[in-house]
C-alpha cells in the first residue's frame, strides 16, 4: 500500500551559527521582497551569569502544519494543504486580507505588496519537485536542516526523528506543526 508523502523538516538548532545564509538564500530563490523573510533566526536572550553564559539561535519558518489555522481562516480558500502535506497558497485566489497572518502562531507569513498577496515558505516546491534540496537547507554551513518524507520510515528525517528527542513549537496552539527541533 503506497502511502501519500508528507514532507517535513528537522532542525538541529544547536548547529546553527546565526549566519543568516538561509535567509538570504531564500530571499534570492523565492524573490522574497526586501525586508520580508520566509525564514528567520530567533536569538534568545543571553542566559546564565558571566562567564557561564549561553545563547541559542533557532531557525524558524512555516511549519506546514497538519492542522493549519492559516488554512482554516482563509476566507477564499486560497491557502490549502497539498497532497504531500505542504501548505501552499493559490496566488490567484488570495485577496490579501491577511487574516491568515493573524492566525499563524509562528508569524510565518508576510505580505508581498507588489503582488498584493500573502506569502510564506513553500518548502521551495520549485526545487524539491525537481529532486533538489530547499535553498535554505542546501546553503547552510551548519547543515542545520533535514528535509524529507515523514511518512517514509526509512527517510533520513524519519530515522533522525526516531533516534533523537524532538519537539515541535507551541503544540498548544493545536496547529500540529511539522517542523521538528532536536532537543538535547
Amino acid at each position: 500500500m503506497s502511502q501519500e508523502k508528507k514532507y517535513g523538516m528537522l532542525i538541529e538548532q544547536s548547529r546553527c551559527i546565526n549566519c543568516k545564509a538561509c535567509m538570504i538564500a531564500c530571499q534570492a530563490e523565492n524573490n522574497v521582497p526586501l525586508h520580508k523573510h520566509r525564514n528567520w533566526i530567533d536569538e534568545s536572550e543571553v542566559r546564565g551569569t558571566y562567564p557561564n553564559l549561553g545563547i541559542d539561535f533557532t531557525p524558524n519558518q512555516c511549519n506546514h502544519c497538519d492542522n493549519p489555522h492559516c488554512e482554516r481562516v482563509c476566507p477564499t480558500g486560497a491557502t490549502f494543504v497539498n497532497d504531500d502535506g505542504i501548505v501552499l497558497i493559490d496566488y490567484n485566489k488570495c485577496i490579501g486580507c491577511r487574516f491568515c497572518m493573524m492566525a499563524c502562531p509562528y508569524d510565518a507569513r508576510y505580505v508581498d505588496k507588489e503582488r498584493g498577496i500573502v506569502d510564506k515558505c513553500t518548502y521551495c516546491t520549485q526545487r524539491i519537485y525537481q529532486g533538489r534540496e530547499p535553498a535554505c537547507l542546501e546553503t547552510c554551513p551548519g547543515k542545520v536542516r533535514t528535509f524529507g518524507d515523514l511518512n517514509d520510515p526509512k527517510s533520513e528525517i524519519s530515522l533522525k526523528i526516531a533516534t533523537h528527542r524532538t519537539e515541535v513549537k507551541y503544540p498548544e496552539t493545536g496547529t500540529k506543526p511539522r517542523i521538528y527541533y532536536i532537543i538535547d
Binding site: 482554516r72 477564499t76 488570495c94 490579501g96 507569513r109 493545536g174 496547529t175
Partner: protein
C-alpha cells in the same frame, strides 16, 4: 509578521460594523415597542444604521492588498473561516439595513423617481418593516458578535483568544449605538416635547448604564481568565497591564470610555431612581457622555486590534 498588518481600516471596520449593528438593533427594538413617541428615534436609527457599515466595508475593501479581487469572497463559503461567514453575513445585513432604512422614509417619499425609473414603497411598509426588523435584529446581533469572533477565534493571538472578546464587542457595540441615539436625541430635542425627551433620556441612560456595567463585568473575568491561563495568555496581558497599551487602556478605554460616562449617566439617573424626582438633564452632559462612550468604543477596537497582533506564543 514584524509590522502591524491590521491597522486603522480594520479598527474602523470593526467599530463601524458594530455601531451599525447596534443602532439597527436599537431602532428595531424601539419600533417594536410600538410607542409612537419613540418613533422619531427609531427612524433616526434606521436611517443611520447603514452608513457606518458602508464606510467600514469600503475601508475594509481598500485595505485588501488586492481590492479588485474582493469578489472572490463571494465565490465560496468557507465554513471554518469567520471572515468568510462574516462577509456573507455583512452582505445580508447591509441589504436588510438598507431596505429597512428605505421603509422608514416618510410617506411623501413613498415614490422615488429616478428619470423613468420609479420605485414605490409598498403600502404595507410598517408591516414589512416589522418583519425586516425581526430578521435584522438577530442578524445585527450576529454582526456585533462577528466583529469580536473575527479576533476571538484565533488561537494564535493569546490576547484575543477568549469567547469574552465577542461578548465585549457586542456589548460595546450596543453601548456605542446607545450613545449615537443619545446624541441624536439631544440634537433633535428642539422639536421634541420635554416629556418625550425625558423619556428618551431615561431609556437611553438606563440602557447605557446597564451596558457599561456589563462591559465591566466582562472585562474583569477577561483579565482574570487571561492572567491565570497559559503562559502566553498571561504574558499577553502585559500589553495592557504594564506594556505598550497600558495607558491607553486604563485612561483611555476604562476611565474615559466607561467610568466617566457611567458616573455622568448615573448622576443623571439617581434623582429618578432614588428620590423619584425628575433630574435637570444638562444637555452638555448628554453630549459629553455620548462622545466619551463613542471614543471609548473606538479605543477598545483600537487596543484589541493592535495589542492582539503584538501578542503571540512564546513572547
Amino acid at each position: 509578521m514584524h509590522e502591524v498588518e491590521w491597522g486603522m481600516p480594520v479598527v474602523l471596520y470593526l467599530y463601524f460594523g458594530g455601531l451599525s449593528a447596534g443602532v439597527f438593533i436599537l431602532s428595531a427594538f424601539l419600533a417594536y415597542l410600538r410607542d409612537p413617541k419613540l418613533h422619531k428615534l427609531a427612524a433616526f436609527g434606521a436611517y443611520f444604521a447603514p452608513f457606518p457599515l458602508f464606510i467600514g466595508l469600503f475601508l475594509l475593501l481598500i485595505d485588501l492588498d488586492r481590492p479588485l479581487h474582493f469578489w472572490r469572497l463571494f465565490t465560496t463559503i468557507q465554513w471554518t473561516s469567520p471572515m468568510s461567514i462574516g462577509s456573507w453575513l455583512l452582505m445580508f445585513f447591509s441589504i436588510i439595513a438598507s431596505l429597512y432604512a428605505i421603509l422608514w422614509l416618510p410617506e411623501k417619499y413613498s415614490t422615488l423617481k429616478l428619470g423613468k425609473f420609479k420605485l414605490s414603497i409598498p403600502k404595507s411598509r410598517v408591516k414589512i418593516r416589522g418583519i425586516l426588523g425581526a430578521i435584522g435584529f438577530p442578524t445585527g446581533i450576529a454582526v456585533g458578535i462577528y466583529t469580536g469572533v473575527l479576533l476571538g477565534a484565533i488561537p494564535a493571538r493569546p490576547f484575543w483568544n477568549t469567547p469574552m472578546v465577542a461578548m465585549l464587542f457586542l456589548v460595546s457595540a450596543l453601548s456605542t449605538a446607545t450613545a449615537v441615539m443619545l446624541f441624536a436625541s439631544n440634537w433633535m430635542s428642539k422639536n421634541t416635547s420635554k416629556e418625550d425627551f425625558h423619556r428618551e433620556r431615561k431609556l437611553l441612560y438606563s440602557a447605557d448604564v446597564i451596558l457599561i456595567i456589563f462591559e465591566m463585568f466582562i472585562l474583569i473575568p477577561y483579565i482574570l481568565h487571561n492572567s491565570i491561563s497559559t503562559a502566553s495568555q498571561s504574558a499577553s496581558l502585559d500589553l495592557i497591564l504594564g506594556g505598550e497599551y497600558t495607558n491607553i487602556f486604563w485612561y483611555g478605554f476604562v476611565l474615559i470610555g466607561l467610568v466617566i460616562p457611567l458616573i455622568l449617566e448615573t448622576i443623571d439617573l439617581i434623582p429618578e431612581i432614588a428620590r423619584k424626582q425628575k433630574s435637570s438633564h444638562i444637555k452638555f452632559f448628554g453630549y459629553l457622555s455620548a462622545i466619551l462612550v463613542l471614543v471609548g468604543g473606538f479605543l477598545l477596537r483600537y487596543i484589541f486590534v493592535y495589542a492582539g497582533q503584538a501578542s503571540s506564543f512564546g513572547a
